[in-house]
């Protein structure tokens, strides 16, 4: 029953979106479709998905392979450090790389114009912007693929790669014929996350002038003041997301590759030549440099040179805002996820599993879609129930609406590790507890909860970092006088162009992300040892 309620929370906004699609389209929508605007949104989205996906996959798989299979100086450091770029929010990376526009691009454009004319410069500019956006996003998002690939190589294909090597195949051939195919499901899972992040991206796309569906949704909503066409665009975005998810499921196929518990294979071996060693270290260093060191250095540079004095009091406000929102929402979501995970355990069956999957849907939807859907749903409900503005006051003037939106969006990072943790607890424990006279919920608090402490902590960390970085939802739904580090950074950097002042909250965000990554890394290591 409770599960159904939570699933309802997510289903209602989606239902509103679907329902609007059945109404006759507004005039603005006809303008959007008729004048090819929809086409350019879809084209822009596809280019970004394809480009970022390919590049992130290359970086992630490459890095994971090098770190898994070769022993070289700095290997231990890089195996952790290559995850750090995940701590940099995408819109922060976009601003950190701003210098590339003025120092790299403009001279290039002038050169193009001199040699090829103004028309060529116009095209070259578009190509450069897209290339820069794809590169920046790929550099910051590849860790999703990296982590997935490492799990794949180490846990799944480890034994097979070893065998392949023993049989005399070179490392390269082992990678392509054995390592990759077996790690494929994991890698594709990581790639899925990258693509979903690209769909969700707002700040970076805005900055580089790339037209995507998410940008279009905000344009239609704000510029045209047309909720109808905004919702339709959200529908198109949802279709793309579903297509990606289905593609992922198909590509994963029915493969169920089992992790090899027991001896963790250390496949690493020293390359035969000094050239080999330096190439391995070099590759890792270059990736780490461009993905993490350079953007952080640029932010530090902005902060050190630009900020006259640090207004600690002013800075504390978004810090407190971020902390309280992340804690509040994080705890609410965790409690809900615990409830869902345990309920699924007590009442096994198809309906429960379906409902669980529904709750995870929110993660796949871009933040813009969630915002629109929830606001439309709220307006609809208050209209239907004639509660006038009661629902909306609770919704926008207090953090309740924002927490609900976070819950819709971030249920998956909470639920997935908890569900996994649950399945590791043997059913015999449940039965033993019942025999001893405890109720279901008594068992939960005494047995399951303590056993879940590691996944719980892991889920809390991931949730925390995700909520801290979140931008589009928070921009629209945050209550008065509440600012988060994300909105403060975006406001200062995008609206006011005060890049120096904006670098301070940005650096705090990156720092907290790094701390999260380190803790998560330790947790995963500890869970493997147990």
């Amino acid at each position: 029953m409770g599960t159904a309620l939570i699933a309802l929370l997510i289903a209602v906004p989606l239902a509103v979106v679907v329902a609007t699609l059945f109404d006759s389209p507004s005039e603005a929508w006809r303008e959007v479709v008729g004048y090819g605007v929809l086409g350019s949104y879809v084209k822009g989205t596809m280019i970004m998905l394809l480009g970022t996906g390919l590049l992130a996959a290359a970086f992630g798989i490459g890095a994971a392979w090098v770190v898994t299979v070769w022993e070289f100086p700095g290997r231990k450091f890089f195996s952790l450090a290559l995850m750090f770029p995940m701590a940099i929010p995408t819109y922060v990376a976009a601003y950190a790389y701003d210098f590339a526009k003025h120092e790299l691009r403009d001279p290039m454009m002038l050169w193009v114009r001199e040699n090829f004319g103004a028309g060529a410069m116009m095209d070259a500019n578009i190509v450069f912007n897209h290339a820069l956006a794809i590169s920046v996003l790929a550099l910051v998002l590849y860790p999703y693929v990296y982590i997935a690939a490492r799990i794949g190589f180490a846990e799944i294909s480890g034994a097979y790669i070893e065998n392949s090597r023993l049989l005399g195949r070179s490392l390269w051939r082992s990678l392509f014929s054995v390592g990759l195919p077996l790690a494929r499901p994991a890698i594709i899972g990581g790639l899925l996350l990258v693509l979903l992040e690209v769909m969700n991206e707002y700040g970076a796309m805005l900055h580089y002038g790339i037209e995507t569906l998410t940008i279009g949704i905000f344009n239609q909503w704000y510029d045209w003041e047309d909720t109808d066409s905004a919702i339709r665009l959200a529908g198109v975005a949802m279709l793309v997301v579903f297509a990606i998810i289905i593609a992922e499921m198909l590509m994963r196929g029915r493969s169920r590759f089992h992790a090899h518990h027991g001896l963790r294979r250390n496949l690493a071996e020293k390359p035969k030549t000094v050239l080999g060693t330096s190439m391995a270290s070099g590759f890792c260093f270059i990736l780490f440099f461009f993905a993490f060191l350079l953007p952080v250095w640029k932010l530090l540079e902005l902060a050190l040179h630009g900020v006259e004095k640090v207004e600690v009091g002013e800075l504390m406000r978004p810090v407190l805002g971020s902390l309280s929102m992340a804690l509040l929402a994080g705890l609410v979501i965790l409690v809900a996820a615990l409830f869902l995970a345990y309920a699924a355990r007590i009442f096994p069956g198809v309906t429960m599993r379906l409902l669980s999957k529904m709750c995870m849907l929110g993660y796949a939807l871009p933040g813009a879609v969630v915002v629109i859907a929830m606001l439309s749903a709220a307006a609809f409900i208050s209209g239907a129930v004639a509660a006038d503005s009661l629902t909306t006051i609770l919704f926008t003037a207090t953090p309740i609406g924002l927490v609900m939106a976070y819950a819709v969006r971030f249920m998956t990072p909470a639920l997935a590790p908890l569900e996994a943790g649950m399945t590791n607890i043997r059913r015999s424990m449940d039965e033993a507890s019942r025999i001893l006279g405890r109720s279901s919920w008594g068992s939960f608090f005494r047995i399951h909860l303590p056993l879940l402490s590691l996944p719980l902590l892991g889920a809390l960390i991931v949730l925390f970092v995700d909520i801290l970085k979140e931008l589009p939802l928070t921009l629209v739904l945050s209550p008065p006088n509440v600012e988060t580090l994300a909105t403060r950074t975006f406001g200062l950097m995008h609206k006011e162009e005060r890049l120096a002042e904006g670098s301070l909250p940005a650096l705090i965000l990156v720092l907290s992300g790094c701390v999260g990554v380190i803790i998560l890394h330790r947790l995963i290591r500890r869970s493997r040892q147990s």
Binding site: E31, Y35, L110, R113, M122, Y222, S389, F445, P450, L475
Partner: protein
């Protein structure tokens, strides 16, 4: 963590954060401002207001559109007292959406000229800005520049930059052209100017000015106060940019340069109506008006009365007398035309 301790710990965390975030109802003497203006100088101004009147100012900063949607969604129970935007069009939109209320006082009536406020006092302006042509001093002589309409001519091919059509300043400029020449001619104009651009619209007004300084283009369309912000920026690169460009007021032989305003209105369901009016009186009063040209480089309501060196260096100009109301009314047309012209 021990399960026994977890519950109380969680409960107290929730309680603390809850206290932080729940709306503080019924605290005496405050005014809640939903503002699209985003200047540090404004915060200083509000602080002065609080010191003088004892009224606390709560600010929600977001884009005007987001603020409007929010007030509409919040309805009768919205905590907003004042809506401040950086454009007349958005104020007209807010008025038409029914979220503002008539509010005036003898001070407001005296301090704000009639063409700088809504006919029924739903909103009042407090600063003015002109949307002008920024040109490269090295490659363009001011005598070559004439009007906005002239930018459609072939000799400007590949030499213009402007920001995206999603920006309200561009929309209001186009609205004024629609009011002058009608939708068809305005569409032809927008399409021609877009074709004359050196690159696809990207970035802010300041980025357009930087592009002119860098040689990417020769002319940019931008608001006057950005020149002030660049000229007085702590960043030496910005100051260098400002030194390379000049300010030209178009259409001086015709209707005059396009102006827009930043202003505010009292929200319909404002819980602190009187405080809201006092804030507007303060913003349109002599202290604030004297400060704007020095802090945000905007023109005061009395354009030619300013004593600021920088603003005076740009010269006197004839401003378009078009009613600001029209900017709002023609906004939807402007958005449509931009989409058809594929301005982006």
């Amino acid at each position: 963590m021990n399960a026994l301790f977890r519950m109380p710990f969680i409960a107290s965390l929730l309680a603390i954060t809850g206290c932080f975030l729940l709306p503080k109802a019924g605290i005496a003497n405050e005014v809640t401002v939903y503002s699209h203006r985003h200047y540090e100088a404004d915060d200083a101004l509000y602080a002065k207001f609080t010191k003088q009147t004892g009224i606390k100012v709560n600010i929600v900063k977001a884009s005007a559109d987001a603020l409007l949607e929010r007030i509409k969604a919040e309805g009768k129970n919205s905590p907003a007292d004042v809506l401040i935007t950086a454009d007349a069009g958005r104020l007209v939109r807010a008025r038409n959406a029914g979220v503002l209320q008539p509010a005036t006082s003898t001070k407001l009536a005296a301090q704000v000229p009639q063409n700088m406020r809504d006919a029924d006092n739903h909103w009042h302006a407090f600063t003015v800005r002109a949307r002008v042509l920024i040109y490269s001093k090295a490659r363009v002589k001011p005598s070559e520049l004439v009007s906005y309409e002239d930018l459609a001519k072939a000799r400007w091919k590949g030499r213009i930059v402007a920001r995206s059509s999603t920006n309200i300043y561009n929309q209001s400029l186009l609205a004024s052209i629609v009011a002058e020449a009608g939708m068809e001619k305005a569409t032809v104009w927008a399409t021609a100017v877009r074709a004359n651009m050196a690159r696809s619209p990207e970035g802010s007004d300041r980025d357009q000015i930087r592009a002119v300084a860098a040689g990417i283009a020769d002319v940019a369309i931008a608001n006057t106060y950005y020149v002030g912000l660049l000229a007085n920026s702590p960043n030496p690169k910005d100051r260098e940019v400002a030194s390379k460009i000049g300010v030209f007021f178009p259409n001086q032989n015709g209707r005059g340069a396009h102006i827009n305003i930043s202003g505010g209105g009292v929200v319909k369901s404002a819980p602190n109506r009187n405080n809201a009016i006092r804030l507007l009186e303060f913003l349109t009063g002599p202290e604030a008006q004297g400060g704007f040209p020095e802090t945000t480089y905007e023109y005061p309501l009395d354009i030619s009365g300013t004593q600021s060196e920088l603003l005076k260096s740009w010269g006197e100009f004839k401003a378009d007398k078009l009613s600001l109301q029209t900017l709002g009314e023609k906004n939807a047309d402007a958005v449509k035309i931009f989409a058809r012209a594929r301005w982006k």
